[in-house]
């Protein structure tokens, strides 16, 4: 039955990056079935991410529609979310959607100006890309440009 709930949640999407389900995003931390319903723990991606309230609401709606009488969605902060929890399928979906998925930075993230990650263009796969801004259209993204096909694109930041 727990597996069914995970499958149901594949239909709940991130409102800001609708190709990703909440399962792909790695924000579902636990699912516990109770006598009269289900209790979930979810974790925010970023502290100020405005999508989290909507996500919690959509999860509740989805499970209530599936017949669960009582649905509790609790927010937990620890352990803190990391992009390591994005599913492989989620990364593939991001790429197809035109957003470069997170890649591991080359040097230690402890360094003040550690080496930048080598981000590939999601359109032409060139690695000849430039970061335009550390921040982008949502908290989880940065802005890049491809120097070969000249397309600007979003990069889903690696958060550890």
């Amino acid at each position: 039955m727990v597996i069914d709930i995970w499958q149901l949640l594949e239909n709940v999407h991130d409102p800001e990056i609708p190709v990703l389900s909440v399962v792909d995003l790695g924000v579902i931390r636990s699912i516990v079935q109770t006598d009269d319903g289900v209790e979930l723990k979810i974790t925010p991606t970023y502290s100020g991410c405005p999508a989290m309230n909507t996500i919690a609401q959509d999860i509740r709606q989805c499970l209530e529609n599936a017949g669960f009488a009582s649905v509790k969605v609790n927010m937990v902060l620890s352990p803190a979310w990391t992009t390591d929890w994005l599913s492989e399928r989620g990364k593939q979906k991001l790429l197809e959607y035109g957003i470069a998925p997170p890649v591991e930075p080359l040097a230690s993230s402890k360094a003040l100006f550690g080496a930048e990650p080598q981000v590939s263009c999601p359109q032409c796969q060139s690695t000849h890309t430039t970061m335009l801004s550390l921040f982008g259209s949502t908290a989880c993204k940065a802005l890049y440009r491809c120097e070969d096909c000249l397309e600007p694109f979003d990069y889903f930041k690696c958060l550890r």
């Binding site: 925010p44 970023y46 609790n74 352990p79 003040l112 801004s133 550390l134 908290a139 958060l159």
Partner: protein
Amino acid sequence: MFDTKTYSSEVNQALCDYLLRLADSSLILGHRLSEWCGHGPILEQDIAMSNLALDLIGQARNWYQLAAQQAGVGQTEDDLAYLRDAPQYRNVLLVEQPNGDFGQTVMRQFLFDAYHYYLLQKLGQSADENIAAIAQKSLKEVTYHLKWSSEWVIRLGDGTEESQRRIQTALNNLWEFTGELSKPDQTDEILHAVGLVPDLRKIQADWQNRVLSVLTEATLQIPARTWMQKGGKEGIHTEHLGYILAEMQFLQRAYPDCEW
């Protein structure tokens, strides 16, 4: 949201005060940054400052929720943000200083980020697991903030004559607000003694090294004078805070409990 621990009344009172310091500093700096929205020097940096603001306001909400729960007198995060007046605010003076030009905003951000970074790193090891959880979460974001502000300090400092002059002026104006960041008072002492918060004097050394290394690379000079302002953590603020609160709290004050 939080399972709070019970402490002696002395510790709990100090803890609530301390949580407000963390929350208020993040909220006020977030509010200042949000004033840039639509006015940034270039679109990418306008977006960057809005993102910084979003992170900080999100972190402030977590600290306020914990403070409200820990105080246990039925207040909410909104009561704490919208219904306290300036003398009850506990933010450091640095974060309420006006945006000025982009150089001043960048310098204010850098001086605070460097402090925030080391403080959160240590708070991540707090004996209180709620404090540790919020700090560990926030630290990931603030690490990125520090990268952004350090890069801009270097770019502007080691940039053109004009950018150098402006950011050096910003440093001269803001330096006197950095003293209280790592100056411990009774609240810090009470909480440090029970392992909830770090010794601020240790943070001072890390902060100074980091600040010095970035400012040196940016070819900037730390002002020679050493007199420092203080008072923010006790509720004695510069005149700027009142204006911020007037704008931020207007709706709640004019239409109590309004919702939309």
